[in-house]
Amino acid sequence: MQPLFEARGISKSYGSIIGCSDVNLTLYPGEVIGIVGESGSGKSTLLNCLSAQIIPDNGEVLFRSPSHGDVNILQLTEANQRYLARTEWAYVHQNPRDGLRMSVSAGGNIGERLMNIGNRHYGNIRDTAEDWMERVELNVGRIDHRPSTFSGGMQQRLQIARNLVTGPRLIFMDEPTGGLDVSVQARLLDLLRSLVQKLSLSVIIVTHDLAVVRMLADKMVVMQRGNVVETGLADQVLDDPQHPYTQLLVSSILRV
């Protein structure tokens, strides 16, 4: 099997401050990789570099695109980057307000992505939007309501529907369960997990919550001060951590 996505030697500094340093990462189709570390460890910088939202100082990001073949994402034109970002990959923000249009209806939020890639038949778009609302367990009766009237958990599920409607192969997620109640988190994680399995999605997920990694990820990357200190199979790193920092993280989990 060929990797779907490969990052080599990604580095990004902000002046003298290291964002992330020489990060390598390989993702195969259908795999979920968790990037963990405390606040300021560089995980969001890394995610932004991998998804071409910021351009790293060094390194390359290779993506096996169904439409464009093997591409170095960082060398694509901005128009092509934007096209890929809306179709073959997707980005789920921690705060759904960053990923949704709050003044447009729920159905419009999902439909907009389809219109962006050339769908024009209103009836089909609405049917697809309804279908996706059901898939993310939202009440279809609320299709014409604005997301500002939704709860945080509902907004997050809507953001996921908006991102998945174009059938992406690769999803970037930044703390998708941050700021949600524990019960809402469990539901969202279960939903994500079943979508990942059904659609055979590849996911790069940034989180500080090791339970999210345990539940969703196949592999994990542990970051500290911009450096990757440990990588491996998720259950192996969680159950038999080697690096002092990973041991500290794992031993700090409170059990209820």
Partner: protein, 228 residues
């Protein structure tokens, strides 16, 4: 099927005065197809540690673990995932499941991972849940609400749903009533007749005698530390 050579494991606890615990030292053994071997040794000898290493859940410090021709030590994560999907099943001591996932799905998942269709996997899951006497009314519920014995049977159903060529069993008959215990022993026996290589931890001596062909006493395999 299993070929373990000169396998060592030590844990370094960086935050507890950098204590180093040497659990396994230079262990070597083989298990053939169709053979069931019991790991024995006192509590703390490293039986479960060895099992976890054989599943790629713990890293080996030194040595080699071969499953057929596949080397587990130093393998890339996706190679280990592939070995787990197709080659080696693991029945852990306790069922670990996620909230909101039904018993039927818990049992069907390894089959889907191995490439069976969803319907096919569910049919097989239903068959083995019936065999292990889990009432059909419970299939759509999360096993987190089940009794200890029921959870253990769901765990066994999950482990035996797909026919792996190699299996690891950690106390498969613990907390089962005599009838279900016999069903589990039958499952192990059937797996052996399919040429499955099995390594197990059985504190239940009668169960061990019923299905195991030989025993491996961990302490007897440990290489003595060389004092220089």
């Amino acid at each position: 099927m299993f070929k373990v050579s000169n396998l060592s494991k030590s844990f370094t606890l960086h935050h507890q005065e950098k204590t180093q615990i040497n659990v396994l030292r230079g262990i070597s053994f083989k298990v053939k197809k169709g053979e069931c071997v019991a790991l024995t040794g006192p509590s703390g000898a490293g039986k479960s540690t060895l099992m976890r290493m054989l599943y790629g859940n713990y890293l080996a410090t030194n040595g080699s673990i071969k499953i057929d021709s596949l080397e587990l030590v130093g393998a890339e994560p996706q190679q280990i995932l592939d070995i787990r999907r197709h080659h080696i099943g693991y029945v852990s001591q306790f069922l670990q499941v996620l909230p909101r996932v039904s018993a039927l799905r818990v049992v069907a998942e390894p089959l889907i991972a191995a490439g069976r269709t969803s319907n096919d996997a569910k049919a097989r899951a239903a068959e083995i849940l019936t065999q292990l006497r889990i009432p059909e009314a419970l299939w759509t519920l999360s096993p987190l609400t089940f009794s200890g014995g029921e959870q253990q049977r769901v765990n066994i159903a999950r482990g035996f749903s797909h026919h792996y060529p190699a299996m690891l069993l950690d106390e498969p008959t613990a907390s089962l009533d005599p009838e279900n215990r016999q069903t589990v022993l039958d499952l192990i026996y059937e797996a052996k007749t399919r040429d499955t290589a099995i390594i197990g931890i059985f504190h239940d001596q009668a169960a061990r005698d019923a299905v195991c062909d030989s025993e491996i006493e961990i302490n007897a395999l440990q290489q003595q530390a060389v004092v220089s």
